[in-house]
Amino acid sequence: MQRDEIPPGTLYLLILRTLARSGELHGYEIANSIEQLSEDVLQVEEGSLYPALQRMLIKGWVTAKWGTTAGNRRARYYKLTAAGRKQLEVEVSQFERVMGAIARVIQTA
C-alpha cells in the first residue's frame, strides 16, 4: 500500500486537529490517530512528532500532564489549550487557502 509523507508545514495542523477531536492523547495515540483517520495514506515520521510537540508546548498551544495508559505505563498526555484551538482555525484556513490555490492551478492547467 502506498504511503505518503505528510506535506511540509502541516504537522502542526494534523496534531492540532487530532487533539481537537479526541481530547487528551499521548504521542503514540496521536501518530496512530493521524494514520488511521487518513486511512493509512498519511504517514508521520513518528519521531518528528516529539520535537513538534515540544515547540507547541512552548507556544502554549497544548499543555501536557503525566498519566497512566491502559497497559499501566506512564505516559505524557497532551491537551489543546484555548490558544491551540485558535491556532487550529488559523492553520485550517491557511491550509484551505493554499490547497484551494493549488487546486485551481492544477485544474486550469
Binding site: 519521531g47 512552548i58 505505563r73 505516559a75
Partner: protein
C-alpha cells in the same frame, strides 16, 4: 538548568520508549516476530538521538549544550598539553594580575565617584589643590575661601540647592574617648550643611545640621565614620552620647555616617567630623569664623536640577566680584585693589570624584604603570598565541577529523575560542588572587608605611568587571588568530599526513611576527625600566647637605599638653633639649619647625641698603630651630657663628642664612653683619641681622635646585615646633627608649605622635620614584622572561619541523656549525627587526616620561644600549638550546623521520 535538562531528557526518553514499545506490540499483533516487530517499530520512529537534539533545540538549549561540550573539550585539551597550559596560565596570571592590581589603585584614586547621592551634580569651587590658608584680597583663580564668604554665597546664589564648606586641613592629634587612654585621631571640620548637601543618611543617630554650625564654639558634637565605629567601638550602638576629647574640648557623638562614605577627600578618611563653629577649639591659630580674609575652606555645592556648570560659573563669579567690591575693600578702593578684583575668578570643577591631594601626585605615575602593565599583557598574549599556534598544528588532525564528519568551521572556531576563554578565565582567577594582595602592597610601597591604608584597594565589583572585560579582550587577542588558522585546513592533506604541512609556512611566519613585536615591546619596557632605575639611583645619591645618618626625629605635640605660644613654651622646649642632650650616647638634640620634605614657609625679603635686583628678589625659605640644630643635622658653618644662649627674646633678632642666599643676595662680599626684613616695606629692612652662613641643604625635595634659606632661633620666635631631632651614636632602639624616658621626666603630658629617622624621611620623599622604578624593573624582567619563553618555544618548534630538512643538509655535507648558524641567524634577524621597530617607539615613549626623570635626558644612551644588549643576549640564550639540538641531529634518524 542542568537538573531540569536531565529531567527533560528522562521524560522524553520514557515517552519515546513507550511509543516504540506500543508500536512493536501492534506489529507483533499484526503477525511479526518479536524481533522484527521491534525493528519495524524503531525504523518507523526514526533517529532517537536526532529527535532528542531537535527537542532540545526547540527549547533553545543548543548553545548551552555546545558551550558545555566545548568546556569539556577545553578542559581535556588543557590537561593533555600540561606544559603549554602551565606556561600560558602563568603568563596570564601575571599579566592580568598586574593589570588588575594597578587598575584597582588607579580606580580608587582617579576614577571612582564619591559614594554620595548623585555625585555628578556636585561642583567644587577652584581645583582643591592648595592646603592651608591664604590672606589678602583674592586675585586670579581662587581655590580657598573664608567662612563669611561661604555664608554669603550660600544665601545669595540662585544656582545651587546647597553649599558646604570643608576645612582644607585634616586635623590630626591625640585625644581620648569617654575618658580612656590617649590615641591618635583624625578629624575634618565641615559646615553644618555638609551631610545634607551630599545627600547622606546616618546609620545611627543623626548627622550634622546647620544648627550645630552657628555662633563660634556652639556646636561641640561629632559624627563618627563607620570605619572608626567599627574599628574603635566594635559597632556598639551605645556609642551615641559618648564624648571624644580632641584638643581642649569634648565632643558628644551624635551619629554614625554610612559605611561606604569615607569623606570628600580620596586618600584621607577622617575618624569623625565636627562643625566649623568649633574651629578655634580644635586649633587656636585657626580662628577665621568672622574673618573674611582668613581663607582656608574648600567649597562644594550641589547644582539645582537643570542648571549647567556654565550657568553656575557665571552666577558665582558675578556674586564673587560683588561681594569683594562691597565688603572686602573700603568705599574708595585703590587701583591695585580694583585690578585684583577684576582678575579674581572662581572656576567650578566637578566634585563627583571628590578632592584628592593624591591625584596630583599619582596621576602620571599610575598612567605610566597602567601602560606598562598593558604592554606586559600584550607580550603575554603574543606568547600564548604562539603556544596555541603550535598546539593547533599538533591538533590539526583532530580538527580535520571533526570537520570532515560535519563540524562547521564557525563551530570549530567557537570551540577553540571557548578553550582560550577557559584558559584566560583560570588565568584571570589566579591574577585576581595575586592582585588582591598586590594592590595593598603597591599602596604600602607608595605611601608612608606608618599611616593606615589611605584608600580601599580590595578588588570590588568595578575592578572585577574590568578584569572580566580584560579577560574577554585577551581571549580574542590571543585566541582568534590561532583559531582561524587552525581551522583553515586542507582536509585531505591533513588527514593523509597527520601534520599540517600545507599551512605551516604561513603559521611560522605569523609566529615570527609575534616574536618580533614581543621584542619591540620588551625594548620599550626595558628602556623605561632603565630610565626609572637610573633616575632613582641619581636621585638617592644626591647630596642632601645634611648628614641623614644616626638622627632620630620625634614628632611632639606641645599644644596637646596645654602650652600657649609664650615664654613658658620656649622654656619647655629648652628643658627638653637640655635633658635629652645629657642622655649618654646623644651627641646633639634640637627642635625645628621643619626637617626635610615637610612643607615650606617662604617670605619675600628686603635688604637694608641694597636695592632690589632680579637676583635678590627671590623668596626665602624659613625655618625656626633650636641652638643645637646645625650640629644635630650636621650642617657645617661656613662664615660667622650659629645661634647661642645669648640670642634671647630681648636681644637683637638674628638669622643664619645658607650659601645660596649669601651668594645671591650679597655677591662679592660677606653676608655676615648685613640686615634684612620680611615683606617689601623699607621701614622693616633692618629687623633681622645675619650672624652666620651655613652649607646649602635640600629642604623640600631631593630634586630641588639650590634655594635661598634662612634660620631663626625659637628663643626669639616662640611657636609650636613639632620636630625634635636627636643625633646619637650606637644602637637606635635603646636610644629611643632613653629619649622617651627623658621626655617623660621633663613633662609627661607632651605626647609623642611618631618616631622616625631622618634617613627614613629622605627615603620617604622618593617613594614615588622608588615605586615606579621597582615596578617598571619588575615588569621589564617579566617581559624579558616571556620573550625568552616565546623565542625558545618558537625555535624549538621550528627546529622540530625542519628536522627532515636539517637531516638532508647534513647528509649533503653541512657541518654542525653550519646548522647551528642556520638557526642562530634566524634568531638574530628576528631580534634585529624587533629592535629596529622598538628603538623609535622606545625613544618616543621616553619623551613622555621625561617629567618623572631626574638628572637624565629621556634619550639616555646608557639605558637604550643596556636594553638592546640585554635583548640580544636573551635572544641568543633562548635560541641556543634549540639551535644546539638541531646541530645534534643524526642525519640517518632525521631522514627517516616521517
Amino acid at each position: 538548568m542542568l537538573l531540569r535538562r536531565r529531567q527533560f531528557d528522562a521524560d522524553l526518553e520514557e515517552e519515546m520508549r513507550l511509543h516504540v514499545d506500543l508500536r512493536a506490540q501492534q506489529q507483533a499483533q499484526a503477525g511479526l516476530s518479536p524481533d522484527d516487530a521491534r525493528h519495524a517499530a524503531t525504523r518507523r520512529f526514526g533517529n532517537t538521538t536526532r529527535v532528542k537534539e531537535r527537542s532540545h533545540e526547540s527549547w533553545g538549549w543548543r548553545w548551552l549544550e555546545y558551550l558545555l561540550q566545548d568546556i569539556g573539550y577545553g578542559l581535556r585539551a588543557m590537561m593533555r598539553t600540561k606544559g603549554i597550559t602551565i606556561v600560558a596560565l602563568l603568563s596570564l596570571a601575571l599579566g592580568i594580575g598586574a593589570n588588575t592590581a594597578i587598575f584597582s589603585l588607579l580606580d580608587a584614586i582617579l576614577l571612582r565617584p564619591l559614594p554620595v547621592e548623585k555625585p555628578e551634580e556636585l561642583v567644587l569651587f577652584g581645583n582643591g589643590n592648595p592646603v592651608g590658608s591664604t590672606g589678602g584680597l583674592p586675585h586670579g583663580s581662587t581655590h580657598l575661601f573664608s567662612y563669611p564668604f561661604y555664608r554669603e554665597i550660600s544665601q545669595k546664589n540662585e544656582v545651587f540647592s546647597g553649599v558646604t564648606a570643608i576645612d582644607s586641613i585634616e586635623f590630626a592629634a591625640q585625644g581620648t574617648v569617654a575618658g580612656g587612654g590617649r590615641e591618635m585621631m583624625h578629624c575634618d571640620l565641615v559646615s553644618g550643611t555638609y551631610f545634607s548637601v551630599l545627600g547622606l543618611r546616618p546609620v545611627l543617630g543623626r548627622l550634622l545640621a546647620d544648627s550645630d554650625d552657628q555662633a563660634p564654639g556652639s556646636g561641640p558634637v561629632a559624627v563618627i565614620s563607620y570605619g572608626w565605629w567599627k574599628r574603635r567601638f566594635a559597632t556598639d550602638p551605645s556609642v551615641i552620647g559618648k564624648t571624644v576629647q580632641f584638643g581642649t574640648k569634648g565632643y558628644t557623638i551624635v551619629g554614625v555616617a554610612p559605611p561606604e562614605f569615607f569623606g570628600t577627600s580620596v586618600g584621607q578618611s577622617p575618624d569623625f567630623w565636627i562643625p566649623l563653629s568649633m574651629e578655634k577649639e580644635v586649633s587656636p591659630g585657626w580662628n577665621g569664623l568672622n574673618d573674611k580674609f582668613f581663607q582656608s575652606l574648600y567649597l562644594i555645592a550641589r547644582l539645582k536640577p537643570g542648571v549647567t556648570t556654565e550657568q553656575a560659573t557665571a552666577n558665582v563669579n558675578l556674586l564673587f566680584k560683588q561681594i569683594l567690591r562691597n565688603e572686602y575693600v573700603g568705599p574708595q578702593p585703590s587701583q591695585k585693589e580694583l585690578t585684583r578684583i577684576a582678575q579674581a575668578r572662581i572656576e567650578l570643577t566637578s566634585a563627583a570624584r571628590g578632592l584628592s591631594q593624591l591625584r596630583g601626585r599619582f596621576t602620571l605615575p599610575l598612567e605610566i604603570l597602567m601602560t606598562i602593565a598593558g604592554l606586559v599583557l600584550l607580550i603575554a598574549c603574543a606568547n600564548i598565541a604562539n603556544l596555541l599556534l603550535a598546539r593547533g598544528t599538533v591538533r590539526s588532525r583532530e580538527i580535520a577529523v571533526r570537520m570532515a564528519i560535519g563540524a562547521s568551521r564557525s563551530r570549530m572556531v567557537l570551540q577553540l575560542l571557548t578553550e582560550s576563554f577557559l584558559l584566560a578565565l583560570v588565568g584571570a582567577g589566579l591574577g585576581v588572587a595575586l592582585a588582591w594582595r598586590a594592590g595593598e602592597m603597591l599602596l604600602r610601597m607608595a605611601t608612608d608605611p606608618m599611616q593606615p591604608a589611605i584608600v580601599a584597594v580590595a578588588p570590588d565589583l568595578r575592578v572585577l568587571l574590568f578584569t572580566l572585560m580584560l579577560t574577554c579582550f585577551t581571549t580574542l587577542l590571543f585566541g582568534m588568530v590561532p583559531a582561524l588558522r587552525a581551522t583553515r585546513l586542507n582536509l585531505t592533506s591533513s588527514l593523509k599526513e597527520g601534520r599540517g604541512t600545507t599551512s605551516a609556512p604561513s603559521r611560522i611566519s605569523l609566529a615570527r611576527t609575534l616574536i618580533v613585536s614581543q621584542i619591540a615591546i620588551s625594548l620599550i619596557l626595558l628602556v623605561a625600566a632603565g630610565l626609572f632605575v637610573r633616575s632613582l639611583v641619581k636621585l638617592t645619591s644626591v647630596d642632601t647637605g645634611f648628614d641623614k645618618q644616626n638622627v632620630l626625629v620625634f614628632q611632639l605635640d606641645e599644644y596637646a599638653a596645654g602650652f600657649e605660644q609664650d615664654a613658658r613654651l620656649g622654656s619647655l622646649l629648652q628643658q627638653i633639649e637640655e635633658r635629652v642632650q645629657s642622655v649618654p650616647g646623644v651627641k646633639a638634640a634640637s627642635f625645628s619647625f621643619f626637617t626635610f620634605n615637610q612643607g615650606e614657609w617662604s617670605e619675600d625679603v628686603t635688604l637694608q641698603g641694597i636695592p632690589r635686583t632680579p637676583e635678590n628678589s627671590h623668596e626665602v625659605l624659613n625655618n625656626v630651630v633650636g641652638t643645637g640644630f646645625f650640629s644635630t643635622m650636621g650642617l657645617p658653618v661656613i662664615a660667622g657663628r650659629t645661634f647661642n644662649a645669648h640670642d634671647i627674646a630681648s636681644a637683637p633678632k638674628v638669622a643664619v642664612i645658607n650659601e645660596t642666599m649669601a651668594q645671591k643676595f650679597f655677591p662679592g662680599g660677606s653676608a655676615v653683619g648685613h640686615r634684612y626684613g620680611f615683606g617689601d616695606d623699607p621701614a622693616h629692612s633692618g629687623d633681622i641681622e645675619i650672624i652666620g652662613v651655613v652649607k646649602n641643604a635640600k629642604y623640600e625635595a631631593l630634586q630641588e635646585k639650590p634655594q635661598p634659606a634662612a634660620y631663626f632661633v625659637y628663643a626669639q620666635r616662640v611657636q609650636y615646633l613639632n620636630n625634635f631631632e636627636v643625633r646619637y651614636e650606637g644602637d637606635s632602639r635603646p636610644m629611643i627608649s632613653a629619649v622617651r624616658r627623658a621626655l617623660a621626666e621633663v613633662n609627661p603630658n607632651v605626647p609623642i605622635l611618631g618616631i622616625s629617622t631622618l634617613a627614613e624621611q629622605v627615603d620617604e620623599s622618593t617613594s614615588n620614584q622608588r615605586l615606579i622604578a621597582q615596578l617598571s624593573a619588575f615588569f621589564g624582567s617579566l617581559a624579558v622572561l616571556l620573550v625568552c619563553i616565546g623565542i625558545y618555544g618558537l625555535m624549538s618548534y621550528a627546529v622540530a619541523r625542519r628536522t627532515n630538512e636539517i637531516g638532508v643538509r647534513m647528509a649533503l655535507g653541512a657541518g654542525r656549525s653550519n646548522v647551528l648558524w642556520l638557526v642562530m641567524r634566524e634568531i638574530l634577524i628576528l631580534t634585529s627587526i624587533g629592535l629596529a621597530i622598538g628603538v623609535p617607539l622606545a625613544l618616543a615613549g621616553s619623551q613622555m616620561v621625561s617629567k618623572l626623570l631626574y638628572g637624565l635626558s629621556p634619550w639616555d644612551p646608557v639605558s637604550l644600549l643596556a636594553a638592546i644588549g640585554m635583548l640580544v643576549g636573551i635572544g641568543v640564550l633562548a635560541g641556543y638550546l634549540p639551535a644546539r639540538r638541531a646541530s645534534m641531529v643524526d642525519p640517518t634518524v632525521a631522514l627517516r623521520y616521517e
